[in-house]
């Protein structure tokens, strides 16, 4: 792959970036150096706060007036530092293009997609409007946007995330750039879509011969796309090397740590005891849910769901966005009203025929995806926990609500007593999620619904929280619905996997069986789309069609 004679497209030396925060200067990136050769893909990996995105934006002078950038940025022999904005304006979107993490917000919501693409083309060329439109259509076909003619005249909000990212890519390649900066371009997308986008990028790269600087936190994606990798931490380079070298033989502890924290799809699972109790905690009997649509039509969110959760069992609910997995959790927690079937919790019919109790069961508690949003910003941590206990005590009089008990629970999830009087905004993301877990545990539930509890966290934090959650589950023995989009994660924690697609359960069974011998084609596609943190494996998978 890597010919020594390749021209260096971008060469960065001693890049340092400071930000002005109030009156103090904060160093974000320090003496970073790297090169990108022609046709090469360099991935910069790191957790949040590592400075990887700032580095990417600094290359095009997109950081704004509060940032000070020093060092050397050499693009094809032209030094970009100090910024000459007149020069940059000619460079941007022309010789160097960029695509962003959130295609939905990266496009102006008030202009039609085609219009925005045409504008970009006309900005750097002398084409007439008609010619530019023609070229735009061509590009949309090239990025394989379905029904490009229709989409051309639609607004961004009318397209899906994957489709928008294709539009974004079309915009990026419109002027055949020498370098494409991709700032976490697939993070917001579902795995199956992510796989398609990565395929598209690779294809375009080989066709157009551009170099790619790929920013990501996902080692699976790195393994899939990168030729070379640079690992960053706290604004500094940890190590760099070819992808194969880095994954097989990481030099630095931090890299090793990160790699080990990545949940990989473990097909050898089964070491987790399937301690399925015989008594059923939760039972869904052909449950259906319809959400009122904006124009009066209903959106069928759940359709004929049959599901049983037994005591002490962890069931992973897997699916992509819009599959209805979160709705299942919300029905179990009593947040959503069903319009068909029956929900039985701890032997009581909570919804559907024969329901006379409240929709909310005192036996169910929940851990939310967004820990921050799930905590009342105006309540101190101790008060939040105490409130939950007090409410729960209305149906479970045996619960303790003393400060000692609360502090004990906090200690159990690894929170110091000093946080008792803190407000949520004073806690880190991981701490907040620990509070969420503490709250869920404190009321001694028989079922915990965990709705993507770790997806907002960095991998290293994700791992510790997940380990803690698993440990507590085993100790307390509550049943758990673990909702996730990440099959790797599911394989690590669950004894049973339920795969959902468009409001239906397509397949369910013991985790090992689902991972090794999926019977449903969708499950298979899902499994194939997950990039594995192993460049060799990824390359192999790519060569053999799924």
């Amino acid at each position: 792959m890597s010919d020594a004679a390749r021209e260096t497209v971008l060469s960065v030396r001693d890049l340092s970036i400071d930000f002005l925060a109030g009156r103090t200067r904060k160093s974000i990136v320090r003496t970073l150096s790297f090169d990108i050769a022609q046709r090469e893909t360099l991935a910069i990996v790191g957790e949040s706060g590592s400075g990887k995105s700032v580095t990417a934006l600094s290359l095009l002078g997109l950081l704004g007036p509060r940032a000070t950038v020093s060092g050397e940025i050499d693009f094809l022999g032209r030094n970009l530092l100090p910024y000459d904005f007149h020069h940059l304006t000619k460079l941007r979107g022309n010789e160097v293009s960029i695509i962003f993490q959130e295609p939905m917000s990266a496009l102006n919501p008030v202009y039609k997609v085609g219009q925005q693409l045409t504008d970009v083309i006309r900005n750097h060329t002398q084409l007439s409007v008609d010619q530019a439109r023609e070229h735009a259509m061509e590009l949309l076909r090239k990025v394989r946007l379905p029904t490009p003619k229709t989409k051309f005249a639609q607004y961004p909000f009318e397209l899906s995330g994957g489709q928008l990212q294709r539009v974004m890519i079309a915009m990026a390649i419109a002027c055949r750039p020498r370098l494409l900066i991709a700032d976490e371009p697939t993070t917001a997308l579902d795995v199956t879509v992510q796989a398609q986008i990565l395929d598209l990028l690779r294809e375009l790269q080989s066709e157009m011969g551009m170099s790619i600087l790929f920013i990501t936190h996902d080692f699976g994606v790195v393994a899939d796309i990168a030729d070379r990798v640079l690992v960053m931490r706290n604004g500094e380079k940890v190590e760099s090397g070819t992808a194969v070298d880095l994954f097989t033989d990481p030099k630095e502890d931090y890299t090793r740590e990160l790699l080990s924290a990545v949940p990989s799809l473990d097909r050898r699972v089964g070491n987790r005891a399937v301690q399925t109790g015989t008594d059923t905690v939760l039972q869904f009997r052909s449950v259906g849910v319809t959400f009122a649509g904006r124009r009066g039509d209903g959106i069928r969110a759940l359709d004929g769901i049959d599901l049983s959760i037994h005591r002490g069992e962890v069931v992973a609910l897997v699916g992509e966005s819009g599959s209805g997995k979160s709705t299942v959790g919300n029905v179990a927690a009593g947040l959503v009203r069903i319009d068909g079937g029956q929900v039985v919790l701890d032997g009581t019919v909570r919804q559907g025929n024969g329901a006379d109790a409240s929709r909310h069961s005192p036996g169910v508690s929940m851990v939310f995806q967004d820990a921050n949003a799930s905590l009342n910003p105006r309540m101190r941590i101790g008060a939040t926990l105490r409130a939950a206990l007090k409410w729960a005590r209305r149906s479970k009089p045996e619960l303790e609500t003393s400060d000692e008990y609360i502090k004990r629970i906090m200690a159990e999830v690894g929170l110091g007593a000093d946080l008792f009087n803190r407000f949520p905004h004073e806690l880190s993301g991981g701490q907040k999620q620990r509070v969420g877990i503490a709250r869920a545990l404190s009321v001694k539930p028989s079922l915990v619904v965990a709705d993507e509890p770790t997806s907002a966290l960095d991998v290293s934090v994700q791992k510790t929280v997940l380990d803690l959650f698993g440990k507590l589950q085993r100790e307390h023995g509550f049943a758990c619905i673990f909702i996730t989009h990440d099959l790797s994660l599911a394989s690590n924690i669950s004894s049973r996997v339920v795969v959902m697609y468009r409001g239906r359960i397509v397949e369910q069974g013991p985790t090992r069986r689902i991972l090794t011998a999926p019977s449903d084609p969708y499950t298979r596609a899902l499994l194939d789309s997950i990039p594995q943190p192993d460049p060799v494996l990824q390359r192999a998978r790519r060569t053999q069609p799924a």
């Binding site: 927690a333 508690s365 939310f368 949003a373 799930s374 409130a387 009087n421 803190r422 407000f423």
Partner: protein
């Protein structure tokens, strides 16, 4: 420290409203036709006298009391009812929501002037009438803010969490939602105090304010305007007081909003 400038100014104003009348050696109602139209800076009457020979400074001080009392009372009333309506509508949804919010819309489309004219015509100008009129005028504003905020907050996850953990309705509304909609409501309240002074003095200007002879700033401007060509200070002086008071209270809104934010509060 700059953050506290406005609260300090506002407190100074409140203080002036409370003790000012005690400090000024004149009765705001005492007429002395012989000494009418004393100019600004007269030894006995610092801000001069009006067409009845009443001391302008004493009237300004007494007027401050009235303006502040009416504005604050009206705002509190409007806030109470507005928040009640807005939260009830947003929390209950369904037909209650429709009736309440359409009612608010209808209230908004009644010209405020006619509302004031009719209420004052029915009850006569007086402090309670003025408070009532102002409260009526500002209820829709609070209702809308509370409604919008409640709609947003009730879908936040910590409210869902409270529901899941079995919180009773009352504590969801009072304990979870209310404190979280208070920042904009308080900002609105401070703006409303400013607006209430503005509108209240405007009503005073139209003769729909408080019962004469009690002084109101708007009424003083209106009276002063009649002697504008010969004694302009009779109009300018109360005008300056109206403007600076409104300025202080409207700027106070931002400060209040910031102070209510837990991010601004130190942990104990």
């Amino acid at each position: 420290m700059r953050r506290y400038l406005l609260p300090v100014l506002a407190s100074a104003f409140v203080l002036f409203a409370i003790v000012g009348p005690l400090l000024v050696p004149h009765d705001p109602l005492a007429q002395n036709i012989v000494k009418r139209f004393a100019p600004l800076g007269s030894p006995e009457h610092l801000l001069g006298t009006d067409n009845f020979g009443r001391d302008v400074l004493a009237r300004i001080a007494a007027g401050a009391q009235v303006e502040l009392f009416t504005a604050v009372s009206a705002t509190l009333l409007a806030m109470t009812f507005g928040v009640l309506i807005g939260m009830t509508a947003a929390y209950s949804r369904g037909p209650t929501e429709g009736v309440l919010m359409r009612g608010v819309d209808v209230m908004l489309s009644i010209p405020p002037l006619i509302l004031a004219l009719l209420v004052v015509a029915a009850l006569g100008p007086s402090v309670p009438t003025l408070i009532g009129v102002l409260a009526l005028l500002f209820i829709p504003g609070f209702a809308r803010v509370a409604y919008g905020q409640t709609l947003e907050v009730r879908n936040r996850q910590f409210v869902e969490a409270a529901i899941i953990f079995g919180a009773p309705r009352r504590s969801i509304i009072l304990g979870q939602i209310l404190p979280n909609i208070m920042a904009p409501v308080l900002a609105q309240a401070s703006l409303t105090i400013a607006s209430a002074i503005l509108v209240g003095s405007g009503l005073g200007y139209l003769g729909l304010g408080i019962r004469p002879p009690a002084p109101s700033w708007g009424g003083m401007v209106a009276d002063g305007q009649r002697y504008m060509s010969s004694h302009p200070m009779l109009m300018i002086v109360p005008g300056i007081f109206v403007v600076s008071t409104i300025l202080i209270f409207s700027a106070l809104g931002d400060t209040l909003r910031a102070l209510w934010d837990p991010r601004e509060q130190r942990s104990r």
